[in-house]
Symmetry: C2
Subunit: 202 residues, 2 copies
Amino acid sequence: MSGKRTRLTPDQRRAQLVDIGLEMLADRSLDELSTDEVARRAGISRGLLFHYFDSKRDFYRAVVEAECRRFVAAAEPDPSLPPVEWLRSFIAGFVTYVLEHRQVYLALVRGAAGSHPAVADIVGETRERVAQRVADGQRRLGMPDSPRLGLAARAWMAFVEEAVTGWPVDEPGAREELAAFLESSFVSLLGMLDRPSALRSG
Amino acid sequence: MSGKRTRLTPDQRRAQLVDIGLEMLADRSLDELSTDEVARRAGISRGLLFHYFDSKRDFYRAVVEAECRRFVAAAEPDPSLPPVEWLRSFIAGFVTYVLEHRQVYLALVRGAAGSHPAVADIVGETRERVAQRVADGQRRLGMPDSPRLGLAARAWMAFVEEAVTGWPVDEPGAREELAAFLESSFVSLLGMLDRPSALRSG
């Protein structure tokens, strides 16, 4: 076993360890991510792992940064698309990412408050970047601006996360139905900012 | 110090320890909730705490159950109210609870996936009970039924949680504005289930 060590450059080794961490996060929380186990899977000693990362916290942060980069990249539409196609591409990227990284997403990205204290700032910045993209989509569609737009964008993201993680995506037609539901929710939620309540008593 | 022990019945003692746990949760996560500290604050030994609770997990569950009962009770309108007033009372109760128990709510109730494994079932059942109430409100308002209603209700709750925790509630008029925003979102999000996308390409 110990003879199986592979010669890697420091950058390759760091990347390998982060990849192992990302893979392991698919079925456990950050707190359950054992650096002993990561080192074992990489065929190196725990001591050597801490040659590449200053601390457990430093390793956790590298893993979460890598995951957050994936998320941001997945939900980045071609900026030259017309508004509606841009929005559809954004929603499709967001949905696909959440479906394909469901466990990691639930453990890490969803809800800045639920995330691990060691990585809360990374997760928070990531959510903020994606929320700014939601606001960008709103402007592209020519919808009314509002001081509450950023907040509404984050609330819409929480709505999307919950809908995507619960939707029966394996049923026939369910993905198309989900996409239509999210597009409509985007228009109706972000289009009604600053309007009085639609409800009348009685 | 040790002479300060108070004579309490077993039920009173359990309730006292749970109350201390709830209070401490206001500024820390469940993992950071030390039973040593709880016992110290109650003026009893750690050993005696484990006379009342089988394990740390058992204590955590008792604390979270108590908090979830508070949440469910806060968002329970008088069933005899007319539909719109019922919905307003439900939203007001939900908003007030989240604002007044902000830290605990963020740490515990929000996002079943983000919650501690030892209490995920309790949190999940609580969210389900509140989601059923959302669906109840939808029926009271005579809005169209849909096989996706339960899911949409949970997604709307995630939306509300994010909006409430981010809204600048201390600004003048902000609470009223928030209530109107949430009422409108209830109608627009839950009223458009099973409708085709509102967007047209071009």
